[in-house]
């Protein structure tokens, strides 16, 4: 538990857009390799950690957290040596201008700039991604192609930091979930077999979780997330912050990708109450999570998403509370552990 923040820092700083999660695997692997019974990478790039149970329960439980983050990809080169880009995952293009980024395996510094304010036509409309480019200092198309060929990954340059009870950094969606899953795998052995899967390609359609659930064929699927908290000052009365900071783990009832079976929802709510942990129900209808990929694998898997509320996800710098992260880890640990003691397998 004490390492949650340290692990989050290493995870947050690692680059890993959808389809290029190798550096995140490199961070996770050494942290868990000594406590799991099997560790492998599947054909999609999911990192599958198997931890045998004590044998007292026949259950098989899948716990996932996605490694990938939203970012950019090089799709071409301008004559002046700047890089044409497109977004990978959901990024509002309006936040890209003025940002520092890191390009490719060598982490080359690059920047995204607009026409100077003094020379711009209008200031009220944000540009499209196709109007933006990354400048790495290359002077020609040839040089740019050599340094950053088409397909090169680009991530935000943000470095992790803490302020009081808050953490700031990129990709808390879902490196916060990864940190909690690592914590779960480092803890006490469970009564049943646990498959901890660090999934790929969540941000482009929940694609890693889907095949992982097919492979593992679990009795339950638990998805760990860093979810959006839109609890910001707004002009109108705020009816939909989705989740709020300082209110503990957010349990999903329903999002755009799946509906939580009532018995699983009830189980986690009761666990929070029993452990004296704060919790909130994520306002339904927004976002999608790996549960959406898991719940329809093979003959169907009861699934639930439990998340750390994070402000400013899908931007260069997200913000979460250490107290929310810790409470989420505690709830997940208790909720997963107690799956064996209740008969949750029959639909009620």
């Amino acid at each position: 538990m004490s390492n949650l923040i340290t692990h989050l820092e290493a995870l947050s700083n690692a680059p890993g857009i959808s389809g290029d999660e190798i550096e995140v695997r490199r961070v996770i692997r050494p942290l868990i390799k000594d406590t799991v019974d099997d560790l492998r990478v599947d054909p999609m790039g999911n990192l599958i950690a198997y931890r045998a149970g004590t044998g007292s329960s026949p259950l098989r439980v899948l716990v996932t957290a996605h490694m990938d983050e939203v970012g950019l990809m090089v799709i071409g080169h301008h004559g002046d040596g700047s890089l044409k880009i497109d977004t990978v995952g959901g990024i509002a293009a309006r936040l890209l201008p003025g940002l520092s980024v890191r390009v490719g395996k060598k982490s080359l510094p690059g920047v995204i700039g607009l026409q100077a304010i003094h020379r711009a036509d209008g200031l009220e409309k944000a540009p499209n991604t196709s109007q933006l480019a990354v400048d790495i200092g290359a002077k020609s198309k040839d040089e740019a192609e050599r340094l950053a060929p088409v397909g090169t990954s680009i991530v935000f340059a943000t470095r992790f930091q803490t302020i009081g009870n808050s953490c700031l950094g990129k990709a808390f969606d879902d490196r916060a979930g990864c940190a909690i899953l690592i914590d779960l795998l480092l803890g006490e052995r469970f009564p049943f077999d646990v498959y901890g899967v660090f999934t790929v390609q969540e941000e482009v359609g929940l694609r890693g979780a889907r095949v992982a659930a097919y492979t593992v064929e679990p009795d339950f699927g638990i998805t760990l997330e860093g979810t959006l908290a839109d609890d910001l000052p707004k002009e109108e009365a705020d009816v939909s912050p989705t989740t709020e900071l300082d209110k503990g783990p957010a349990i999903t009832v329903m999002d755009r990708s799946y509906i939580t079976p009532p018995r699983l929802l009830r189980h986690f709510v009761r666990m929070a109450e029993a452990e004296g942990l704060p919790f909130q129900l994520k306002q339904p209808g927004i976002g999608g999570t790996d549960s959406g990929g898991v719940h329809r694998a093979k003959a169907g898997v009861p699934a639930i998403t439990v998340a750390v509320p994070c402000r400013y996800i899908h931007s260069p710098v997200s913000l979460l509370r250490q107290s929310d992260l810790t409470a989420t880890a505690l709830l997940v640990n208790a909720g997963v552990r107690q799956l064996a003691t209740q008969d949750l397998r029959t639909m009620k």
Binding site: D80, S82, G90, I91, A92, A93, R94, L95, P97, G98, L99, S100, L108, P109, G110, V111, I112, G113, L114, Q115, A116, I117, H118, R119, A120, L123, E124, K125, A126, P127, N128, Q131, A133, D135, G137, A138, K139, E143, L147, T158, Q161, I163, G164, N165, S166, L168, L232, P233, E235, S240, T242, I286, R311, Y312, I313, H314, S315, P316, V317, L319
Partner: protein, 375 residues
């Protein structure tokens, strides 16, 4: 590498217009060993004097070179539920604010971010909207009562950004406008330590340029130079701007031409560039140059001015890009210009020279005057 470090030291430091104390201390430390006298005036301008070294008669003439050390920033206008409401200090570009890391200069320097709502909750109509000031805020990640204890309305905010080295000797960071030129002026001071000059050289790091060239106006009055050169940045070509009025990175500084620039100083800057083999480009400036030169030119009874500019990409954005060579060339060009000022040189208008010549037929004494001989 030395220029890169110098630039990083200067550009990373905060110095929003009207609160230049921190950057001023840094420049003071850099300039003190290079100056015969150094002081800060009532407005906060840092003024360093290098005495002329060549023998001359009578009072030494004075040339002033000005580079502003302030940068654009933000200011706290309110505190709501622990979030800071903000407004612009200088020509801030609202299009680049979302997702930025900042430093709030409250009772201590506090890290914060300018929050952006995730795309999940943005209606399609909002995704290309550039937010007005009343929808922008800074999140300090601290509880409301602590925010209220540490921050007050009127506190300053600067962008937090560290200079990054790009390919081909280029560098990206905040406040290249105008720390690039403070760096160039530092290089000039270094060069003139080893290069004889007849004139007294005043290097001035001015304040409050970004809110209307205020420091230049008062420092020009205080120093009362016989001529002045301002150093600032100009627009560089970039992938989305190649119209006239922009200048390529790496092709040297520009020399301004127009109502703000005395033609004889333009000529002398061009001559110095040719003699010292510094590549330059002429920058036409049909009206206000938008630099310190505009205010300096009308100080006292009028001061003949020149303007040297370093091309920078993405001006007033947190990722301004410069080429280090251009900074070094600017420092060298200015040093060469100053070193070539003869002890009795006075910038003059061509017609005045002609009128004088008509009134008074040239004598042997006059034609020996090096200033006259040049025109």
């Amino acid at each position: 590498m030395k220029t890169q470090q110098l630039l990083q030291t200067l550009a990373d430091a905060p110095g929003p217009a009207g609160r230049e104390g921190t950057i001023c201390d840094i420049v003071m430390d850099l300039w003190r060993p290079l100056a015969d006298d150094i002081h800060v005036d009532a407005m906060g301008n840092l003024i360093a004097l290098q005495q002329g070294t060549l023998p001359g008669t009578g009072d030494r003439r004075a040339v002033m070179a000005a580079a502003h050390m302030d940068e654009i920033g933000l200011i706290v206008t309110g505190i709501e539920r622990g979030f800071l409401r903000i407004h612009a200090l200088g020509g801030v570009d609202r299009r680049v604010l979302l997702g930025l890391e900042v430093r709030v200069h409250g009772r201590s320097d506090l890290p914060g971010i300018i929050g952006s709502r995730p795309p999940h909750v943005l209606p399609a109509s909002e995704r290309r909207k550039v937010l007005p000031w009343h929808e922008l805020f800074v999140d300090l990640g601290l509880p409301e009562d602590e925010v209220k204890r540490l921050v007050r309305v009127g506190d300053y905010i600067t962008v937090h950004q560290t200079v990054a080295a790009l390919k081909n000797g280029r560098a990206a960071g905040k406040a290249m406008d105008n720390r690039a030129c403070v760096a160039a002026l530092t290089l000039t001071l270094e060069a003139l330590r080893h290069r004889a000059h007849a004139w007294n050289f005043y290097a001035v790091a001015t304040v409050q340029e970004e809110v209307g060239g205020k420091g230049a106006i008062t420092s020009a009055y205080g120093v009362a130079p016989d001529l002045a050169v301002a150093l600032d940045v100009t627009f560089a070509t970039q992938h989305n701007d190649s119209d006239p009025g922009v200048f390529e990175l790496g092709k040297g500084p520009t020399i301004g031409v127009g109502p703000n620039c005395h033609p004889q100083i333009v000529t002398r800057l061009n001559e110095a560039a040719a003699a010292d083999e510094v590549p330059t480009t002429i920058e036409p400036l049909p009206g206000s140059s938008g630099t310190d030169a505009w205010g300096i030119q009308v100080a006292r009874e009028g001061i003949p001015c020149g303007l040297i500019s370093v091309p920078v990409r993405y001006m007033h954005q947190p990722v301004e890009v410069v080429e280090l060579k251009d900074i070094e060339r600017t420092g060298r060009l200015l040093a060469g210009f100053v070193a070539r000022l003869e002890s009795d040189y006075t910038p003059r208008w061509e017609d005045a020279v002609e009128a004088d010549a008509e009134e008074r037929p040239p004598s042997a004494e006059d034609s020996a005057d090096p200033a006259e001989a040049r025109t």
